[in-house]
Symmetry: D2
Subunit: 313 residues, 4 copies
Amino acid sequence: MKQLTNEYLNEAIEDCRPYAVNGNVNTSLPNFDDTLRDKLGVSIMTTDQSVYSAGNSTHCVPMQSTAKIIALMLALHDFGKERVFQTVGMEPTDEMFNSIGAIESHDKVKPFNPMVNAGAIVVCSLIKGGNNDNRFDRYLRFLKQMTNNNELAMDESVYQAEIANGARNRSLAYFMQSTGALIFDVEAALDLYFRINAVMMCCEDFSRVGLLLARDGVDPGGERLIPPHHLRTVKAIMMTSGMYNSSGEYAVDAGFPCKSGVSGSIIGVVSGRMGIGIVGPAIDKKGNSTAGGALIKKLSRDLKLNMFRTETL
Amino acid sequence: MKQLTNEYLNEAIEDCRPYAVNGNVNTSLPNFDDTLRDKLGVSIMTTDQSVYSAGNSTHCVPMQSTAKIIALMLALHDFGKERVFQTVGMEPTDEMFNSIGAIESHDKVKPFNPMVNAGAIVVCSLIKGGNNDNRFDRYLRFLKQMTNNNELAMDESVYQAEIANGARNRSLAYFMQSTGALIFDVEAALDLYFRINAVMMCCEDFSRVGLLLARDGVDPGGERLIPPHHLRTVKAIMMTSGMYNSSGEYAVDAGFPCKSGVSGSIIGVVSGRMGIGIVGPAIDKKGNSTAGGALIKKLSRDLKLNMFRTETL
Amino acid sequence: MKQLTNEYLNEAIEDCRPYAVNGNVNTSLPNFDDTLRDKLGVSIMTTDQSVYSAGNSTHCVPMQSTAKIIALMLALHDFGKERVFQTVGMEPTDEMFNSIGAIESHDKVKPFNPMVNAGAIVVCSLIKGGNNDNRFDRYLRFLKQMTNNNELAMDESVYQAEIANGARNRSLAYFMQSTGALIFDVEAALDLYFRINAVMMCCEDFSRVGLLLARDGVDPGGERLIPPHHLRTVKAIMMTSGMYNSSGEYAVDAGFPCKSGVSGSIIGVVSGRMGIGIVGPAIDKKGNSTAGGALIKKLSRDLKLNMFRTETL
Amino acid sequence: MKQLTNEYLNEAIEDCRPYAVNGNVNTSLPNFDDTLRDKLGVSIMTTDQSVYSAGNSTHCVPMQSTAKIIALMLALHDFGKERVFQTVGMEPTDEMFNSIGAIESHDKVKPFNPMVNAGAIVVCSLIKGGNNDNRFDRYLRFLKQMTNNNELAMDESVYQAEIANGARNRSLAYFMQSTGALIFDVEAALDLYFRINAVMMCCEDFSRVGLLLARDGVDPGGERLIPPHHLRTVKAIMMTSGMYNSSGEYAVDAGFPCKSGVSGSIIGVVSGRMGIGIVGPAIDKKGNSTAGGALIKKLSRDLKLNMFRTETL
């Protein structure tokens, strides 16, 4: 077992950076182009509040799908587990994250889980706060508190791009209205979804989200933001569905809950030990950072982070 | 947190037995009829070799799908992880365990994972041993060693019923041959699959399989039967795909690896702590024991078995 | 072979009316309730301009899906065959008329054909005329001319119901925008689609639409409204896809092009001989009038209307 | 309108031969290789028994899927329409001809129609005659009588290749057994299916099959082999499902019933006028001869063969 140090992380970054050649930068995002391909950064924050960073750890990207776990936390907080899962399922799917047919072909009323787009959109419809400005303010305050970063903000150009390219998500949202899953204002739910996708974060911010989950909801100031039982739910769903259609592979090869986004971001959670934040914009066909994913697996092996280990033996 | 005692288990059985009304006995199995509906038994074996049992813990049933994890262990042992997963995937699916369309519609060569029938059949094709009698003997010896039960045997009437009702599995097997996943003798793979489904076990046997996984491969005599890294793979796949199309729900509500069978059997694994064996023949539409599943969730809550807990806080 | 007379039609209506018990009235349409179940009317207009009617032939219903063939005629007229079929396919589908998964699972850009909702919505996007009031005026003028009925109009309550229940169609429309099939204003295409579904017609009106097709585009006044080659295209698509997921059955048992709507309306075309208009509001699960469908098949047998006959033998 | 002469056909062949570049020869068939790419032949036999031929009209190929209509005729003869369509549907499908998922995802018991492989296999199970040698003899006698060609025979190497590459069809057959559609001997049905695929024919043979259908069942000697109402059923199904997943396109662009095979063969039926036989081994991705399909469409335009024309205007 390796020791977690900045030096170790520097080496790990250089080991994994070459995997970027297997991926492509998602150029539908503003300011994302092929010059980002080789960027790779990581921050790890441990439960004793130590921070380790390496590589392009200060490169900020929009949260994209990593926002889905924040939205789920808030919805669980606002409505409780029973009500949330009347609206969205908790089962993994083999379909793409933006699939409609998956829902339709199973005669389902609910999206499969909160990690696919349809699921996240109905989860957004459950976040309280009145009008959308207030709901997004509340979301952002929650995120600022857990990351201890008051500068967090939505990028307007990313938000506008989400709207401009939003036909598929709009189709999903109206489909969920047609099944009865999305009973509140469809356009408001979509708009909040577009906004939370567009919040910019860098590696340390991502690692602090992971740390909150690793500490069962206690923020950097020692305040409990959300009850532990809700976070167990979030972590279990990250394990079965957090890494798009490679979630099974990451359960095997990483063995701890992760959530990725098509901006190349990954949040990792090692309960009781650490939160991990990674940015590596070159993504594979399923949507996961290729270099970032390699780094997640390497950290698991080197630092013995796999939950399916039997520590007592 | 409750204390694990026989008394506690007796109470737990009586609490959960009424859930049997939500299920039905799978009468396509020989000797399975509605008189089995209210049977519910459990055995728990801890890493310090204590055994706790309650209810109908000596009622034996055919392994059915719980055999899939034994076959996977042997195939990993015989061919290694890389070769096994060239033949079968490791991703959860939202389709039924006997679905062909799931594979076809994704233009897939490989079955989704070793926990669906198509996956288990190709896994069976990878078990070494020459002719089928020898391969099954080897399988049975492996199972006897881990359960410390030399009496284990295949039930001939269950085996014959598997053959008689085998059209769908035969269709799956030839489909996997057509994609190139099953390159060895199709009928031999099917026959081995039918045999392993027909081995009879009771709760203590099931719990000892769980214990082997909880002890990273060390059998009751202290011998390591299989390397720990292979068992981490098995446990991760049980977590994401072990409970048919309710695997996500069990990841959330139990939070430890489980595998169920349509005979109403469930194997649970709490790494470093215990193996759990349950028999409750009334199953729900997805294939899981209704009373047994309720018991798994109750044990998780009462004994704090959820892996997504943060013990150090 | 029977003779086509009013007396014959009266008997035919009474023979077929009992089939209504196998269907249900689509109560999502305004003013549609179970009292309409037993209504059944028919008008047949021959190429020599004789009209035969029987039953509830003056009962008006909204066109619903029978409007899809009018929209297709106009789009073919406005853009030509090549351009129209760059936007929509011409293949039958086994999926429901409002399916999205059918398109998604085949990685298709285009809806399967102009007879499913997604196809008709993109066809609507191709109808010329500037703003939607003008485009609908043009559509209605075209329909008035071919039916020789200047009273035709949209029912406001049906239109409002289409909007209120429009989530699934809106989802389909945005899906088609996301694939690139619907490049014009999505909400305008939807609105035109909702309007044309809401135009009220009775049996004689429906029969005159059939007659225009049977006369290769010549209207009651002798003017050619649309070139014959476009109408051959429309008739072929009616044959393979006009009767929802029973189109194959009607090709066998009727043997001439038909188009049905969930209001219980059916338009039949016997080239060179007659147009048929039927209203029978009790529909089966696939969307076809049960009594009306029985009548179509009876007319085919009695009057020898099946195109697959070999007349010269 | 062009005149049907050998000279006209020679020109038509040369016009259409270049379309072969858009296709590929199905090299899984014995003796099929790229040297066959430019072969294109046609024979047309009219109801007055005149024969017109051009191009490589004497090049023989295995019937492949064109055999499906012969099998359907025999099954209709042996069991009648009602019984046959209890076993197989009559609806077009958007799935590939060898799809299982199409059946599974619709919870269907029956294959969609007799033109897809699963449908043809269950149709084969309905052909009477005792053992398979006798059943195939009977099939071959029927085919010899309608083609007036006593030399017709199965090619042993094609039959062996069907068996060797038969995994997908075997999977389909056992799937149909599992749903209850195929209740007779599965391996016998498969074997008969493999045999009928392997019968060798050239253009004139194919045209005489078409002519039998065009003459409502009267063979060259004037004997009626099969009642007209069964042939109307066959022709209607050819129209909606005969050209694989381009059937809708051929209904529009040819407008008469056709059936194709992956050997590049096409049978066309113009009721009361002619039978058409074409061989052109380069096929497109859907399975249809590219040059042969172009020729079918050209013949329809030039000779006015489209059934959706309105002759009396």
